[in-house]
């Protein structure tokens, strides 16, 4: 049985990489990861950047380096050119006497400008870190929240892509009329479904792990990540089967899979933006729980029990959906 399930999985994998659409779906997580790295701010990017005139005030430069990322350039023209560039770098330039002025592009967040102003003032009044009366205590979370959000969404999105591959493979079986040939081999219906499902779990798991590695989430608990991704895939696998048996062409099947994006984005928006009293409205959506579970995984703050709770809820919802859809899937594969 296991051998035959793996055979069906291998066949699907082989033909999937020969098909441009499915190949594209397989590499999408990597594309996501690269895009997230490009567009989201990294840890260093959140540090305030200051540009100074080279050799103008060595002591000030050393002082700023304790609290910000410092660049030094040779001329004022170079600094003006640098400040105009798209990032939020602030120039601190000598004015008359021993005063300084702050050169900004104009669209930098106020907190950055205030920060540089304060630093300049502190340096002027010779206030050092030893003069502070507060101690900083942090939870060690050094991943920007936007990046975490994007990776979380991308992981859930990747799990839907697994269902899409299944839908495309079922449509291929239907158009080639090969299901009847499989039905005349000693492969049970359950074995066939299991074999077909495997790619819908395998691709998202590999894709999600690549996504996590490329985006820098290397220190998280990968077993927890596996549990969350594997259970989230189940719902996509089921929808993939339904779309596969209900459609006769590839584009319609892939297009209908997009229906899942609505509960996906709806539940994330609900979880992030709505008050607690509205949260129960989203309890029926598995992606809501996946999003919460993934948050714990990505911030490395969830215990195994927490993760099992969230993945268990997703599994439970998937089982209910399976009970509802199983007869239609079985009939569709006859």
């Amino acid at each position: 049985m296991i051998r035959k399930i793996l055979l069906i999985f291998q066949r699907d994998l082989k033909t999937s990489v020969r098909n441009f659409i499915t190949l594209y779906i397989i590499v999408v997580p990597v594309i996501f990861a690269v895009m997230i790295n490009v567009f989201s701010p990294g840890i260093n990017d959140t540090t305030v950047e200051i540009v100074l005139l080279e050799g103008e005030n060595q002591r000030q430069e050393e002082y700023f380096r304790q609290f910000a990322k410092v660049e030094v350039l040779k001329t004022i023209e170079d600094i003006e050119e640098r400040v105009i560039k798209r990032d939020n770098i602030i120039g601190v330039l000598p004015d008359q006497g021993d005063e300084y002025f702050i050169l900004r592009q104009g669209n930098e967040p106020d907190y950055i400008v205030d920060y540089v102003k304060n630093l300049t003032a502190f340096d002027y009044y010779d206030i050092g870190i030893e003069d502070t009366t507060a101690e900083i205590v942090d939870y060690g979370r050094d991943i920007p929240p936007l990046k975490k959000l994007m990776v979380n969404i991308a992981i859930i999105f990747t799990s839907i892509l697994g269902g899409m591959i299944i839908a495309l493979n079922i449509v291929e079986e239907k158009t080639d009329n090969t299901i009847s040939a499989i039905n005349l081999s000693p492969v049970s219906r359950l074995g066939f479904i299991a074999g077909k499902s495997l790619i819908g779990v395998f691709i998202p798991i590999v894709g999600a792990f690549l996504l996590l590695l490329i985006t820098g989430f290397r220190d998280i608990n990968y077993f927890h990540a596996f549990l969350m991704v594997a259970t989230t895939c189940l719902i996509s696998v089921l929808v993939g089967f339904i779309e596969g048996v209900n459609n006769d062409d590839v584009m319609t099947a892939a297009g209908n899979m997009k229906l899942l994006f609505l509960p996906l984005f709806g539940s994330i928006a609900g979880a992030e933006l709505l008050a607690d009293k509205w949260q129960p409205l989203f309890y029926w959506i598995p992606f809501y729980w996946t999003y919460k579970g993934n948050n714990l995984v990505l911030s490395n703050t969830g215990s195994l029990l927490d993760i099992m709770k969230y993945s268990g809820i997703v599994l439970g919802i998937s089982v209910v959906v399976f009970i509802v859809l199983a007869p239609r899937i079985r009939k569709g594969l006859e």
Partner: protein
């Protein structure tokens, strides 16, 4: 090898039966032809026998297995060549056979041997999607032999093939049958049935009208005449003589003995003529 008793099947789950109370048996090593026009119930019956359609009413036993509760093991013993070729277009011919062969629990045949047998050697690494219709049909036919089936279901095995390849396919069927394979042949091509089948069943409107060997049918429904063309005194004459009436038999002997015979044919009825006579229907 196949026992069918009082089989009914309705697609609309009512009294409109596509297969209506049919019963027959196929013995081991036999080539059994299931003949009828389109929509007669041939494919429905065959699909029930192989489990592609659920048995609704009646008793069906194939290779010792009750089709009502099909066990996967049964499929190790049967093979089926579909009328519409159904192979994975994105896989090569060889990959198709290798993949399918691995799904069985019994010893399977070398895919390359089968490829050669149906004349696809040299094209085994080309994707099946690039095959012609006839090539795909041959690949489907080859695949049906991969598990050395004891019962071989063939649905229109030579449809759409050119005469040379069709002849090759017929030879393969004969060869497999000589090795002991039982063949259940579904076709509306009476010439193939006549050439290959030990027995045939005529099915029309879901009912079997007749089951017998082609030879017996011809004897029963033929006119038992011999038509002779011969030269007598330089003139070409054409006469028919009964092979039953004693007087005409003697005349035939005399004509053969004393004249230059040009052609001589027994006036056997063809299976198609018998089918029309028995069922009152054509085969298309």
């Amino acid at each position: 090898m196949i026992k069918v008793k009082n089989l009914f099947h309705s697609y609309s789950n009512d009294e409109k039966y596509a297969v209506n109370d049919i019963s027959f048996q196929v013995e081991k090593g036999e080539i059994f032809g299931f003949l009828g026009p389109s929509g007669a119930g041939k494919s429905t019956t065959q699909n029930i026998l192989v489990g592609l359609l659920q048995l609704q009413k009646g008793e069906v036993e194939v290779a010792g297995y009750d089709v009502k509760q099909i066990k996967n093991k049964m499929f190790n013993k049967i093979g089926m060549s579909f009328e519409q070729s159904n192979v994975y277009n994105k896989m090569s011919g060889l990959e198709n056979l290798e993949f399918y062969g691995k799904l069985f629990d019994v010893e399977t045949r070398d895919p390359m041997d089968l490829i050669r047998m149906v004349g696809l050697d040299g094209k085994e690494k080309i994707k099946a999607g690039e095959y012609s219709k006839g090539m795909k049909h041959r690949l489907t036919f080859a695949r049906s032999m991969i598990n050395n089936p004891e019962i071989w279901f063939l649905d229109e095995p030579t449809t759409g093939l050119d005469p040379a390849i069709a002849s090759n396919i017929k030879d393969i069927i004969k060869e497999q049958n000589e090795k002991g394979v039982t063949v259940f042949l579904t076709t509306h091509n009476m010439y193939i049935a006549d050439e290959l089948c030990d027995r045939v069943a005529f099915i029309v409107d879901g009912k079997i009208r007749l089951i017998d060997s082609p030879k017996q049918l011809k004897l029963k429904y033929g006119e038992k005449l011999v038509e002779v063309e011969y030269y007598k005194n330089g003139e070409l004459l054409k006469e028919s003589y009964s092979t039953v009436v004693e007087e005409e038999k003697n005349k035939l002997i005399e004509v053969i003995g004393s004249n230059d015979i040009q052609t001589m044919h027994t006036k056997e009825a063809t299976l198609e003529e018998i089918f029309i006579k028995v069922t009152g229907r054509g085969l298309v």
